[in-house]
């Protein structure tokens, strides 16, 4: 009885060690791939950072109308954001190559599905980036316009517009990532509707007078005849 137990234990130990020995080259390959990719990422990040600093990327970005990207960047520097993103992508690629070195069918499948998912992630990130830029731009437009119209709730209006666009962008990104699409649709509908309703109530209750004055003025002016020419005022 004891011999049988001993034999079974020996067999399982041998099996475990054999499996471990099988895995070791893969693990070593993964570590080597990660090390190489880290060094490559580090070099590439330095090159990208120097190149972008050379062309004054941060300042140029502001001129191209993407000034809000600074807010999202580490240390308010889009150059750092781009160089770090490049480094992360290289390390991720090294990790995927390292996993593929296991040469097991299951890991290949995993790698293949991860690779197939990357375009979705990139697409979602792009949607989020554009969404945040548009949200900031519109929020600033609304804020300035509302202050110039002497609306006391200018900031609320601006925040409402910003979150409206951000919620839309996040919902689109999640849809792109195929994460619980049903729940996202429902949550988006509720949240978007809620924000619109809040804004309608806030504006409607506070600016009845303004709207009626505006309508009265429009009714008095013969349509199309009044052409405002700024240089006539100077």
């Amino acid at each position: 009885m004891w011999d049988q137990v001993k034999q079974a234990l020996n067999q399982s130990t041998t099996k475990f060690l054999t499996e471990l020995a099988h895995l070791l080259p893969g693990v070593v390959a993964l570590i080597v791939a990660l090390l190489i990719s880290c060094i490559l990422a580090w070099v590439l990040a330095i090159v990208v950072r120097r190149l972008l600093a050379g062309v004054h990327f941060d300042e140029q970005l502001g001129r191209w109308g993407f000034a809000s990207l600074k807010e999202w960047s580490p240390m308010n520097s889009p150059t750092r954001l781009v160089s770090r993103t490049t480094a992360c992508l290289v390390i991720l690629s090294g990790f995927l190559i390292g996993i593929a070195a296991f040469d097991a069918e299951s890991t290949s499948l995993l790698v293949r599905s991860i690779l197939a998912y990357i375009p979705n992630i990139v697409g979602a990130m792009l949607v989020l980036l554009v969404g945040s830029i548009v949200a900031s731009f519109l929020a600033r437009s609304v804020l300035i316009g509302a202050v110039n119209l002497n609306l006391q709730y200018a900031r609320l209006l601006s925040l409402g517009v910003k979150w409206l666009v951000l919620v839309l962008a996040v919902a689109m990104a999640l849809e792109h990532l195929k994460i619980a699409p049903g729940i996202v649709d429902l949550a988006f509908g509720i949240l978007f509707g809620g924000i619109v309703l809040t804004l309608v109530l806030a504006v409607g209750l506070n600016s009845r007078e303004l709207v009626s004055k505006s309508l009265e003025r429009d009714a008095k002016e013969p349509s199309g005849e009044h052409v405002e020419e700024p240089f006539r005022h100077v």
Binding site: A67, R140, G145, V147, N148, V227, E228, F231
Partner: protein, 417 residues
């Protein structure tokens, strides 16, 4: 030749007219009688001239008009002027710009000696007022004849608060209405303006021809003068839409400031420009401005726009603005020195494109309204005689702050008090 700038309808008509001495463009809605009255004034011009009048609406039978108003030995031709293209309502803000461009192009094409642009109506207009703008061009070879409207307390405030003092300080010439819009321009200056706009090649830096007049004339050492033309009838101001006005008027000024930076950085102080004609005393007028609302908009700006202003204005200016906002009710007293520095900071931010340019200019509105409150409160009790003195004080403040502008313009990152 800037033939593209001439609207199609205008191009078709002058086929028979291959040359002229003077071209007069009347964009103002003067009506048939008004145009004929202006043409009567041409009788006062010395010598005989072939005059081409471009106008929005035809003056009845041109033959009748010609026979009635042409000076002896002179010829007068009328051409319809669809300055704003087929649909004048399509791009209202561009109307004067397009009209000016086409007038200058027509002057160049016809080889005329000079042209005159009429865009305003005058209170108590005399037949001679347009002729007064032409006389210095014809008789004394001036290149730019700018109007000198009778000073008004509460009209043309954008000119009084920014355009006049800024142009005077930058280019060193005391032209009281540098943007006209009623101006006399020599062919030489018209060709330079067409050339400047052509070199911009229709890009985003395309400026307004009127904003180019004084800078080009001053930087190229052309002959300038001013003419007292009387009191101008201003169209009513839409105070609720002030931000659009600021954006559309200040944009071209700041763009031109960027283009001519080398010229204005060399200029120190200012000199007076000769004035022709008789000065009219400023008339008493009530402000009719809702100063409480303006002060409230300023306070709202201090509360909600600080985030934007902090990208444009240095901390010391922001601190002073916060102090101003704490003053009681509508008693906002903005010192001229502070206002001049604010305008300079916005000009610099426009150049650096710190934020979107339209946002930048529109965000200046509450500050402009604060200046108006401060100005109106001061002049309410002082009376109209003090208007010119008050504007002179402001212009001197702009001149005193010019070293600040130059330092910030040259070293925007290093010089940030």
């Amino acid at each position: 030749m800037e033939v593209d700038a001439i609207p199609q309808q205008t191009q078709e008509q002058p086929a028979q007219i291959d040359s002229a001495d003077l071209v007069v463009g009347i964009l103002a809605d003067l009506g048939q009688d008004g145009v004929l009255k202006v043409c009567e004034g041409f009788l006062n011009l010395s010598g005989s001239h072939r005059i081409v009048v471009l106008q929005r609406d035809p003056v009845g039978d041109p033959a009748v008009a010609n026979s009635q108003s042409a000076p002896e030995g002179s010829s007068l031709s009328f051409l319809p002027w669809s300055a704003a293209g087929p649909d004048p309502l399509a791009a209202p803000t561009q109307t004067i710009s397009i009209a000016c461009q086409s007038l200058f192009a027509m002057t160049d094409k016809l080889g005329a000696r000079a042209c005159c642009f009429v865009a305003s109506e005058m209170e108590n207009a005399t037949p001679q007022w347009v002729c007064q703008l032409l006389q210095p061009l014809v008789e004394s070879d001036f290149d730019l004849v700018a109007p000198y409207y009778a000073p008004r307390m509460f009209q043309g405030l954008l000119n009084s608060s920014i355009i006049y003092p800024l142009t005077r300080c930058l280019y060193g010439k005391r032209i009281h209405n540098p943007f006209g819009p009623d101006v006399g321009v020599s062919r030489r200056l018209a060709a330079k303006i067409l050339g400047a706009n052509r070199s911009n090649n229709g890009g985003s830096n395309q400026t307004h021809p009127l904003s180019l007049l004084a800078p080009i004339a001053a930087c190229d050492n052309l002959q300038l003068c001013q003419v007292h033309v009387g009191a101008r009838a201003y169209p009513p101001t839409d105070w609720t839409n002030m931000s659009s006005l600021l954006a559309q008027v200040l944009g071209p000024i700041f763009i031109e400031m960027e283009r001519s930076a080398a010229c204005w950085q060399r200029t120190r102080g200012s000199v007076s420009v000769p004035v022709h004609g008789e000065c009219q005393d400023p008339s008493q007028e009530t402000s009719g401005l809702d100063l409480n609302r303006m002060a409230e908009t300023f306070r709202l700006g201090i509360r909600d726009l600080q985030e934007i202003w902090s990208l444009v204005l240095p901390p010391a200016t922001l601190f002073e603005l916060r102090k101003l906002s704490r003053s009681t009710a509508d008693l906002v007293n903005m010192p001229d020195e502070l206002w001049a520095r604010i305008v300079y900071d916005f000009a610099l931010a426009h150049r650096l494109q710190t934020i979107n340019r339209d946002h930048l200019l529109r965000s200046m509105t509450p500050l402009y309204l604060a200046w108006i409150v401060s100005y109106a409160r001061e002049l309410e009790t002082a009376g109209p005689a003090r208007v010119e003195q008050r504007i002179e004080h402001l212009a001197l403040a702009y001149e005193a702050a010019k070293p600040y502008l130059i330092s910030r313009w040259r070293w925007p990152d290093r010089f940030n008090p």
